[in-house]
Symmetry: C2
Subunit: 384 residues, 2 copies
């Protein structure tokens, strides 16, 4: 624990619902977060390209940090000695850290998975690391995360049912060990989320959810999605899993997704999201807007004096012409990557704010229909 | 002309002097600039990595745009159609554009220099371009620059005297053609600067200056320096040239330099500077501070909780730890490049503000000595 200790428990309040869509908030040691919420990804202690003040100005109330990246560099003991991740990256609002498991599977080499832990070679410098459920909790405590995630095993889909079941069962045993390690921290106000696994197998997903509830967590994530499966499969898993989860705990769909994914998942009862898409796609010239996705490297924008969205709540989307953004992207200028990353996170936050207001006012179905209709104006159909 | 026309002439006011150091201001169509002034370089319509608001927050009152880069991409006619460079890049204060000549010599291939013009191949896509004195003035008018520069021929040093003389004489003939083309614009309030050439040959420099004064310009630049010669040679040329220039016109030392170069040149009567060093070196992990240059990629900063300068007027230099900046640079994070570029421009602006105050108060010699002493604390000796 590197940040201040709180005496208030981590609390989630479900304010109202509209269909399965939920409007809530949670109170974490570093602040209050309105849900449904989108968490920009701050992989290596920075939301790529943005000043932390600019992240907050988009409306973001919480960011995600990647345990895998931070354990490799600069190292969690170093971050703790420097006062924790909040101070290190100059972000004083809540931070959720993942467990490191997902990146171990996707980035590290020479992985070896045992009951005890996963050992792997750093993709940066080849150093060997061991990540156990207990070490993952320890790292997340050193970072000072408001919300920690259990270590789990995440498979690529499609996968054989026996393989999915094996990984799900291991993830549950790791969930229990993660919970014990977290309880030993005695960190009032901080939260640990369990992660539902089970691939695209609905009975396994529901079994995973029930077992996690028996262990007991401050929140529940749906993991192992957005790993190559069609959107319909993902949404099917979501809509069959959320009803099993307790209404009084937040639900977090990990690593998702497009604006359309978010709209569909909120409709199915999800409260929290994270995704690199607004920043990663922004760096490659794609803008997310009310009118759909716009590829600014396309030559047709070269002479276009219009801003991306003159009615956007974010000044960058109102100020700069499409021609200027096109120029910056073509010239590979840092500012182009910075502006589009900012504009995209701001759009994601505006979308979440729109959903929150619509749920409060009992008009989510109208908001859904209006948003879907708006996206038809972009380069890329929203239902791709 | 793409921006508003002004009826007030371009004026420079020399407020006071301290030794050869000068404290002044000039009034351009887009605002007032206090001198001595440092102009951050906005090569391709952006000061690399910085929001224009953040450039202004460093204290910068004018930026430089590169005619060569902008003529290649996005093209001056396009910028004019989009409302001019100020609007394009969202910078409403003054802009000085160079003539394009320097980059034609340093970046373009297949150059062919005639009395009429220089033809060259774009380093971006191989397109052939022709740049004459008249076309350079036309481009700078299309961009809407508050201050335009004459086209000149800039040599690398050392060079043979006959070659220096030939280039100087051509530059003077081009100065006259530039002046005629500029007068034909009839752009009250806008300025054209002549450029003193002559390499490291003092009599040629002084002859160049006198000939330019005969033509008559709103300001005079010293060009063709910071092209490989020792600092002492550069300073010798400066101190032998400024006395020839009229006191009532601003003097601009092009492409210079390190903080130490700026201090020495102001001492010798220079009013304006531009240089890519604060942004380029910042992108490579070097910070300019009161304590000298600090190379943040050095491992000794990895655990250092101190900010770069807790007394800096700029928040970024006070807020982020050296450990965090080291981490960002090692991880090749955009924010590291952005923060160091910003911190460096802010330091350059603080240095200029310090010199301006010292000249006003007749204590430039003390300021010079104190600043030189402060720089001894960095990684790199200021007199390198």
């Amino acid at each position: 624990m590197t940040e201040k200790m709180m005496t208030d428990p981590f609390t989630f309040t479900l304010k109202t619902t509209d269909g399965m869509a939920r409007r809530g908030q949670f109170v974490a040691p570093h602040g209050v977060v309105q849900t449904p919420a989108f968490m920009p990804v701050g992989t290596a202690g920075t939301v790529k390209g943005l000043h932390p003040e600019d992240v907050a100005d988009t409306g973001a109330e919480i960011v995600l940090g990647n345990t895998y990246h931070l354990m490799l560099r600069p190292g969690p003991e170093r971050v703790a000695a420097l006062g924790g991740l909040h101070k290190f990256m100059n972000w004083q609002k809540p931070i959720l850290t993942d467990s490191g498991g997902f990146q171990v599977m996707s980035l590290a080499t020479l992985r070896k998975l045992t009951e005890k832990a996963v050992t792997f070679r750093s993709h940066i410098d080849g150093t060997m690391f061991e990540l156990s459920p207990e070490r993952s909790i320890e790292i997340q405590a050193l970072l000072g995360a408001d919300i920690s995630m259990q270590l789990d095993e995440c498979l690529k889909l499609p996968a054989a049912r026996e393989e999915i079941q094996r990984a799900m069962a291991l993830s549950l045993r790791w969930a229990e060990r993660s919970r014990r390690a977290f309880e030993a921290r005695n960190a009032t106000g901080y939260a640990l989320f369990g992660i539902v696994q089970g691939g695209d197998d609905i009975p396994l997903r529901q079994e995973s959810a029930r077992e996690l509830i028996d262990i007991g967590f401050e929140g529940y994530a749906i993991g192992g999605l957005a790993v190559g499966e069609p959107q319909a499969v993902m949404l099917k898993v979501v809509e069959e899993t959320t009803p099993v989860l307790p209404a009084e705990r937040p639900r977090y769909l990990m690593g998702v997704g497009t604006p359309h994914d978010l709209l569909e998942a909120v409709k199915r009862g999800v409260d929290m999201f994270d995704c690199v898409m607004p920043t990663r796609n922004g760096r490659h010239g794609m803008a997310f807007t009310r009118f759909g996705s716009i590829n600014l490297s396309n030559a047709r924008h070269a002479d276009d004096p219009r801003p991306l969205d003159e009615a956007s709540p974010h000044p960058a989307a109102r100020t700069y012409s499409r021609a200027y953004l096109h120029h910056l992207i073509k010239a590979n200028e840092i500012l182009g990557q910075v502006l589009l990353s900012t504009i995209n996170i701001a759009y994601y936050q505006a979308l979440m704010a729109g959903m929150r207001a619509a749920i409060e006012e009992g008009r989510f179905a109208d908001f859904y229909a209006g948003t879907m209709a708006g996206w038809k104006g972009g380069d890329i159909p929203p239902l791709s």
